[in-house]
Amino acid sequence: MKARIHVTLKNGVLDPQGKAIEHALGNMGFDGVNEARQGKFIELELAETDREKAETAVDEMCRKLLANTVIENYSIELE
Protein backbone atom coordinates (compact mmCIF):
# COMPACT_ATOMS: atom_id res chain seq x y z
CA MET A 1 0.00 0.00 0.00
CA LYS A 2 1.14 3.54 -0.70
CA ALA A 3 0.94 6.37 1.81
CA ARG A 4 1.10 9.98 0.64
CA ILE A 5 1.95 12.39 3.41
CA HIS A 6 1.84 16.16 3.31
CA VAL A 7 3.78 18.02 5.97
CA THR A 8 3.02 21.73 6.07
CA LEU A 9 3.97 24.55 8.38
CA LYS A 10 1.38 25.59 10.92
CA ASN A 11 -0.40 28.83 10.51
CA GLY A 12 1.57 31.61 12.09
CA VAL A 13 4.93 29.94 11.56
CA LEU A 14 7.03 32.05 9.27
CA ASP A 15 8.06 30.16 6.15
CA PRO A 16 11.39 31.39 4.74
CA GLN A 17 11.18 29.15 1.69
CA GLY A 18 7.64 30.22 0.93
CA LYS A 19 8.61 33.87 1.28
CA ALA A 20 11.52 33.35 -1.08
CA ILE A 21 9.25 31.75 -3.67
CA GLU A 22 6.76 34.61 -3.42
CA HIS A 23 9.55 37.08 -3.84
CA ALA A 24 11.19 35.26 -6.72
CA LEU A 25 7.93 34.84 -8.60
CA GLY A 26 7.29 38.55 -8.19
CA ASN A 27 10.75 39.38 -9.51
CA MET A 28 10.18 37.12 -12.48
CA GLY A 29 7.11 39.09 -13.39
CA PHE A 30 4.47 36.67 -12.18
CA ASP A 31 1.94 38.98 -10.60
CA GLY A 32 -0.93 37.96 -8.47
CA VAL A 33 0.73 35.38 -6.27
CA ASN A 34 -0.64 36.50 -2.95
CA GLU A 35 1.02 33.85 -0.89
CA ALA A 36 3.32 30.88 -1.26
CA ARG A 37 3.94 28.17 1.29
CA GLN A 38 6.37 25.30 0.98
CA GLY A 39 5.95 21.96 2.64
CA LYS A 40 7.13 18.42 2.26
CA PHE A 41 5.58 15.58 0.39
CA ILE A 42 6.58 12.11 1.47
CA GLU A 43 5.57 8.90 -0.21
CA LEU A 44 5.92 5.58 1.59
CA GLU A 45 5.63 2.15 0.04
CA LEU A 46 4.19 -0.04 2.78
CA ALA A 47 4.15 -3.81 3.15
CA GLU A 48 0.97 -3.57 5.25
CA THR A 49 -2.22 -4.42 3.37
CA ASP A 50 -4.74 -3.64 6.10
CA ARG A 51 -5.92 -0.06 5.66
CA GLU A 52 -6.65 0.64 9.26
CA LYS A 53 -3.40 -0.77 10.54
CA ALA A 54 -1.53 1.16 7.90
CA GLU A 55 -3.26 4.37 8.88
CA THR A 56 -2.38 3.90 12.55
CA ALA A 57 1.23 3.09 11.74
CA VAL A 58 1.70 6.04 9.39
CA ASP A 59 0.09 8.38 11.85
CA GLU A 60 2.59 7.27 14.45
CA MET A 61 5.47 7.71 11.99
CA CYS A 62 4.31 11.24 11.36
CA ARG A 63 4.00 12.10 15.02
CA LYS A 64 7.29 10.51 15.96
CA LEU A 65 9.49 11.46 13.03
CA LEU A 66 8.11 12.83 9.81
CA ALA A 67 6.58 15.99 11.20
CA ASN A 68 7.74 18.29 13.95
CA THR A 69 4.41 19.00 15.56
CA VAL A 70 5.76 22.11 17.26
CA ILE A 71 5.72 23.85 13.90
CA GLU A 72 4.17 21.45 11.40
CA ASN A 73 0.85 19.83 10.54
CA TYR A 74 0.54 16.65 8.56
CA SER A 75 -2.08 14.83 6.59
CA ILE A 76 -2.15 11.27 5.32
CA GLU A 77 -3.71 9.67 2.27
CA LEU A 78 -3.59 5.96 1.61
CA GLU A 79 -3.82 4.43 -1.82
Partner: protein, 220 residues
Protein backbone atom coordinates in the same frame (compact mmCIF):
# COMPACT_ATOMS: atom_id res chain seq x y z
CA UNK B 1 35.49 17.23 34.81
CA UNK B 2 34.55 14.11 32.87
CA UNK B 3 32.76 14.91 29.59
CA UNK B 4 31.10 12.88 26.90
CA UNK B 5 30.80 13.95 23.27
CA UNK B 6 28.03 12.13 21.47
CA UNK B 7 28.91 11.17 17.90
CA UNK B 8 26.14 10.62 15.36
CA UNK B 9 26.60 9.50 11.78
CA UNK B 10 27.33 12.80 10.07
CA UNK B 11 28.54 14.70 13.13
CA UNK B 12 31.53 16.72 12.02
CA UNK B 13 32.43 19.06 14.87
CA UNK B 14 32.91 16.17 17.30
CA UNK B 15 36.67 16.38 17.03
CA UNK B 16 36.65 20.17 17.38
CA UNK B 17 34.57 19.83 20.54
CA UNK B 18 36.87 17.16 21.94
CA UNK B 19 39.94 19.26 21.23
CA UNK B 20 38.42 22.29 22.96
CA UNK B 21 37.33 20.27 25.99
CA UNK B 22 40.70 18.66 26.37
CA UNK B 23 42.59 21.92 25.90
CA UNK B 24 40.50 23.78 28.43
CA UNK B 25 39.51 21.19 31.02
CA UNK B 26 42.67 19.13 30.77
CA UNK B 27 40.70 15.91 30.40
CA UNK B 28 40.06 14.00 27.22
CA UNK B 29 36.33 13.53 26.77
CA UNK B 30 34.69 10.21 26.21
CA UNK B 31 33.59 9.87 22.59
CA UNK B 32 30.24 8.10 22.58
CA UNK B 33 29.12 6.50 19.32
CA UNK B 34 25.35 6.80 18.93
CA UNK B 35 24.89 3.09 19.35
CA UNK B 36 26.83 2.84 22.62
CA UNK B 37 24.01 4.12 24.72
CA UNK B 38 25.01 2.69 28.09
CA UNK B 39 28.06 4.91 28.43
CA UNK B 40 29.63 5.55 31.81
CA UNK B 41 28.57 8.31 34.18
CA UNK B 42 29.89 11.73 33.16
CA UNK B 43 29.68 15.24 34.53
CA UNK B 44 28.83 16.82 31.23
CA UNK B 45 27.37 15.85 27.86
CA UNK B 46 28.06 17.66 24.60
CA UNK B 47 26.08 17.27 21.40
CA UNK B 48 28.42 18.55 18.69
CA UNK B 49 27.75 20.35 15.46
CA UNK B 50 27.64 18.85 12.01
CA UNK B 51 25.10 17.29 9.72
CA UNK B 52 23.87 14.25 11.59
CA UNK B 53 22.00 12.05 9.13
CA UNK B 54 22.85 14.59 6.48
CA UNK B 55 20.35 17.08 7.94
CA UNK B 56 17.87 15.16 5.83
CA UNK B 57 14.14 15.54 6.55
CA UNK B 58 14.79 18.19 9.25
CA UNK B 59 18.06 19.06 10.95
CA UNK B 60 18.50 16.91 14.02
CA UNK B 61 15.23 15.04 13.51
CA UNK B 62 16.68 11.60 13.09
CA UNK B 63 19.34 11.93 15.76
CA UNK B 64 16.73 13.11 18.21
CA UNK B 65 14.97 9.74 17.79
CA UNK B 66 18.15 7.66 18.13
CA UNK B 67 18.76 5.25 21.00
CA UNK B 68 21.56 7.26 22.51
CA UNK B 69 19.27 10.27 22.84
CA UNK B 70 16.89 8.34 25.06
CA UNK B 71 19.78 8.03 27.48
CA UNK B 72 20.84 11.66 27.01
CA UNK B 73 17.28 12.84 27.65
CA UNK B 74 17.13 10.80 30.82
CA UNK B 75 20.39 12.15 32.13
CA UNK B 76 19.65 15.72 31.12
CA UNK B 77 16.32 15.47 32.92
CA UNK B 78 18.24 14.18 35.94
CA UNK B 79 20.25 17.39 35.86
CA UNK B 80 23.45 16.46 34.01
CA UNK B 81 24.74 19.61 32.28
CA UNK B 82 24.13 19.21 28.57
CA UNK B 83 25.29 21.45 25.76
CA UNK B 84 24.14 21.35 22.15
CA UNK B 85 26.07 23.38 19.60
CA UNK B 86 24.56 24.06 16.19
CA UNK B 87 23.33 20.64 15.07
CA UNK B 88 23.35 19.75 18.76
CA UNK B 89 20.97 22.64 19.43
CA UNK B 90 18.72 21.42 16.61
CA UNK B 91 18.71 17.96 18.17
CA UNK B 92 17.80 19.39 21.57
CA UNK B 93 14.79 21.21 20.15
CA UNK B 94 13.75 18.15 18.18
CA UNK B 95 13.74 16.07 21.36
CA UNK B 96 11.72 18.72 23.16
CA UNK B 97 14.41 19.25 25.80
CA UNK B 98 14.46 22.84 24.61
CA UNK B 99 11.43 24.70 23.26
CA UNK B 100 10.99 26.01 19.73
CA UNK B 101 12.50 24.98 16.42
CA UNK B 102 15.35 25.98 14.14
CA UNK B 103 14.22 26.80 10.66
CA UNK B 104 16.02 27.53 7.39
CA UNK B 105 17.94 30.83 7.52
CA UNK B 106 15.72 33.65 6.36
CA UNK B 107 17.89 34.39 3.32
CA UNK B 108 18.15 30.65 2.56
CA UNK B 109 21.94 30.75 2.48
CA UNK B 110 24.36 28.83 4.64
CA UNK B 111 26.30 31.34 6.72
CA UNK B 112 29.80 30.92 8.12
CA UNK B 113 31.29 33.97 9.79
CA UNK B 114 32.23 35.56 13.08
CA UNK B 115 29.22 37.17 14.73
CA UNK B 116 28.88 39.45 17.68
CA UNK B 117 26.48 38.43 20.40
CA UNK B 118 25.69 39.54 23.88
CA UNK B 119 25.63 37.37 26.95
CA UNK B 120 22.07 37.84 28.18
CA UNK B 121 22.23 35.83 31.34
CA UNK B 122 25.42 35.23 33.30
CA UNK B 123 23.62 33.29 35.95
CA UNK B 124 23.90 29.90 34.29
CA UNK B 125 26.55 27.25 34.70
CA UNK B 126 27.60 27.88 31.10
CA UNK B 127 27.98 31.64 31.32
CA UNK B 128 29.16 32.45 34.84
CA UNK B 129 32.60 33.58 33.70
CA UNK B 130 31.24 36.15 31.26
CA UNK B 131 30.37 39.66 32.39
CA UNK B 132 26.72 40.72 32.24
CA UNK B 133 25.86 42.14 28.82
CA UNK B 134 29.34 41.31 27.59
CA UNK B 135 29.67 41.40 23.82
CA UNK B 136 31.60 38.46 22.45
CA UNK B 137 32.60 37.26 19.00
CA UNK B 138 31.91 33.64 18.11
CA UNK B 139 31.60 32.09 14.64
CA UNK B 140 28.42 30.62 13.25
CA UNK B 141 28.25 28.00 10.50
CA UNK B 142 24.76 26.87 9.70
CA UNK B 143 21.96 26.66 7.20
CA UNK B 144 19.14 26.31 9.70
CA UNK B 145 19.68 28.63 12.63
CA UNK B 146 16.55 30.70 12.37
CA UNK B 147 15.10 30.23 15.85
CA UNK B 148 11.33 30.06 16.00
CA UNK B 149 8.92 29.81 18.91
CA UNK B 150 5.49 31.30 19.43
CA UNK B 151 5.23 34.64 21.19
CA UNK B 152 4.16 33.19 24.51
CA UNK B 153 7.15 30.92 24.57
CA UNK B 154 9.45 33.75 23.59
CA UNK B 155 8.06 35.98 26.32
CA UNK B 156 8.48 33.22 28.82
CA UNK B 157 12.07 32.50 27.72
CA UNK B 158 12.97 36.16 28.04
CA UNK B 159 11.08 36.60 31.28
CA UNK B 160 12.66 33.61 32.96
CA UNK B 161 16.22 34.40 31.85
CA UNK B 162 16.35 31.41 29.57
CA UNK B 163 17.79 33.38 26.69
CA UNK B 164 21.53 32.93 27.14
CA UNK B 165 22.84 34.70 24.02
CA UNK B 166 21.47 37.12 21.46
CA UNK B 167 23.05 38.22 18.19
CA UNK B 168 23.70 41.94 18.04
CA UNK B 169 22.39 42.02 14.46
CA UNK B 170 20.10 39.90 12.35
CA UNK B 171 22.11 36.87 11.26
CA UNK B 172 19.53 34.33 10.15
CA UNK B 173 16.08 35.69 10.87
CA UNK B 174 15.90 34.25 14.39
CA UNK B 175 13.04 35.56 16.50
CA UNK B 176 14.30 38.31 18.79
CA UNK B 177 17.84 37.58 17.52
CA UNK B 178 18.09 34.61 19.82
CA UNK B 179 21.36 32.71 19.48
CA UNK B 180 21.14 30.37 22.46
CA UNK B 181 18.67 29.30 25.15
CA UNK B 182 18.60 27.16 28.27
CA UNK B 183 15.87 25.01 29.76
CA UNK B 184 13.99 26.26 32.82
CA UNK B 185 16.22 24.36 35.18
CA UNK B 186 19.30 25.82 33.53
CA UNK B 187 21.28 22.64 33.00
CA UNK B 188 20.70 22.41 29.26
CA UNK B 189 22.06 24.98 26.80
CA UNK B 190 21.52 25.01 23.07
CA UNK B 191 23.20 27.57 20.84
CA UNK B 192 23.89 28.04 17.14
CA UNK B 193 27.34 29.74 17.39
CA UNK B 194 30.42 27.56 17.88
CA UNK B 195 32.35 28.50 21.03
CA UNK B 196 34.69 25.54 20.41
CA UNK B 197 35.98 27.34 17.31
CA UNK B 198 37.09 30.41 19.28
CA UNK B 199 39.48 29.13 21.89
CA UNK B 200 42.87 30.47 20.81
CA UNK B 201 44.20 33.55 19.02
CA UNK B 202 45.39 31.50 16.05
CA UNK B 203 41.77 30.67 15.28
CA UNK B 204 40.73 34.32 15.46
CA UNK B 205 40.02 34.77 19.16
CA UNK B 206 39.35 33.22 22.55
CA UNK B 207 35.86 34.39 23.39
CA UNK B 208 34.56 30.84 23.46
CA UNK B 209 36.80 29.75 26.32
CA UNK B 210 34.75 31.24 29.12
CA UNK B 211 31.83 29.00 28.28
CA UNK B 212 33.95 25.97 29.04
CA UNK B 213 35.70 27.52 32.03
CA UNK B 214 32.30 28.47 33.49
CA UNK B 215 31.25 24.87 33.31
CA UNK B 216 34.52 23.60 34.68
CA UNK B 217 34.56 26.05 37.57
CA UNK B 218 31.01 25.10 38.49
CA UNK B 219 31.54 21.39 38.24
CA UNK B 220 34.90 21.13 40.00
Amino acid sequence: MKSAVIVFPGSNCDRDMAVALEKITGTKPLMVWHQDYDFETVDFIALPGGFSYGDYLRCGAMSARSHVMKEVIKRANDGVPTLGICNGFQILTETGLLPGALMRNANLHFVCKDVAMTVENTDTLFTKDYAGGEEIIIPVAHHDGNYFADDDTLDRLEGEGQVAFKYTSDINGAQRQIAGITNARGNILGMMPHPERMIEPALGGSDGRKLFTSLMNTLN
